[in-house]
Point group: C2
Chain length 315, copies 2
Amino acid sequence: MTPPFHEFDLIQWIREQCPDSQTDLLGIGDDTAILQPLKDRELLLATDMLMEGTHFTLPPATPELAGRKALAVNLSDLAAMGGKPHSALVSLALPQSKGPEFAKAVMQGMIDLAQEFQVQLIGGDTNSWQGPLVINVAIIGTALQAQSVTRSGSTPGDWIFVTGKLGGSIHSHHLTFTPRVDEANRLSQSVTIKSMIDISDGLASDLFHILDESKVGAQINAAEIPISNRVTLDHPQTSRLQHALSDGEDFELLFTVSPEDGKRLVSQNPLQIKLTHIGEITQEQGAVLHHADGSRTSLKRTGWEHSLSGQKRND
Amino acid sequence: MTPPFHEFDLIQWIREQCPDSQTDLLGIGDDTAILQPLKDRELLLATDMLMEGTHFTLPPATPELAGRKALAVNLSDLAAMGGKPHSALVSLALPQSKGPEFAKAVMQGMIDLAQEFQVQLIGGDTNSWQGPLVINVAIIGTALQAQSVTRSGSTPGDWIFVTGKLGGSIHSHHLTFTPRVDEANRLSQSVTIKSMIDISDGLASDLFHILDESKVGAQINAAEIPISNRVTLDHPQTSRLQHALSDGEDFELLFTVSPEDGKRLVSQNPLQIKLTHIGEITQEQGAVLHHADGSRTSLKRTGWEHSLSGQKRND
């Protein structure tokens, strides 16, 4: 028979895995964590909730990969602001039937990624229930530059870039992707990033967040969209492009820079991963897809969005 | 037929309900929120997850009360540190079958409490699924004093106080309680609070957090424990006392002060609610309950705790 294992035992175990390494903090073990803010640094704050059956299924995901993903998606949000991760708060709803080893495995996956990105787990809330696994992470970061990179800084003429390759993340990449924190920081050192977002819902959805917030439009060269090998070659090319545009959960960076900075990035990619110039920001709103045969189509706002009334958006 | 209602519609609706009121923030509408930290102020951070069926049931709770409680429990954590609320991040897992009015009602209950306590909702994550309602709030506050009040500052001889009355919260109080933010701040202005916690798991559980972290013990006068009228008078007195000690979710403040400050609080209560001197901190560890008949019993560490393996703690 498994020995009894309780909330406070898990918290104690987590404390042991996460030695205090930052002297400006009171971490796990009080009603709140205490953070001594770095003077003259913007704080960046985000949160994401992952639910079993929606954002992952067990299997093929392991509890470690589910825990990893819950932190990774938050790191991706920080990357999109050009930020440096600092600390995280973690809430768990654990399926009672799965027992303590499952709970530890979820946290181990998260702790391993936290250590890789020097994130300290400073607090949280541990619960168990009859329902499926739910993990919430709230992340705290600091801006590396005087100002963080938002979605609203694009102006007409900007070149649009994307890191990595897109599409087909659902097979396993969404569980194992590397949040582009280091890449965002390296880009910030090379050029002035005018606006940026991470591709979580799909390029054809997330591009519109930049366009809406910046009050601009875009033209995208379809042939330049980097399609991942994860999208099977058995599909016709138009179908493969559609996957790259709307599969979502790529967690690559979509950003714009001035044409001068754009030329610099094209002539010398500062990253160790692919970097592609896929189009330009335009004065006229909306997004137009330019095809290799000279034809143009309107880029439709697609990609993943949670319907709150059981109906799927189709505009 | 209900018109389609989606994640971005709900986010837009929330943005409209929450006009930016603090100039040091970039709120809802980017990958992260941006917070310009107040210089020389400690930041306080906490998170709590509420799950339908565990922390509330619908009914008797309404969606508004569920949303309210999710913020209120976090405010209670901030109160326990002597902090001032600043902003919050909200994650939702919404039952798809309940539709958009349900989602708005959850948020309305939270927004109303947020405005009462001047908390700005600066970001979040909105999801829907086939499962029950899950709400996570991560709260950000600032310390009002040079140093926040932790659980670890008690020393032998301290007087132990509790605000309000305890027990029977399950009937409805746990949904409608007032987080003791103002009371904590008023106490801080009158005396030096040496350690403090909010009573979420029950006095007989939460007292031990102070004792453990401060490495001290306590003697508690059983007859002084303020038992709420919510605990039915039909029970015998020992059973009523047990409810007050271990029901949990009172969200009152349990704190210690020096004997001098204690005498000041007894002679003039600075609060508009009941304030009771229930015992003293002792050198020897453990907690002893002193009864009116002169007998003494060991106070057992009870109260609510999530079992992660389907077995209940009974030490």
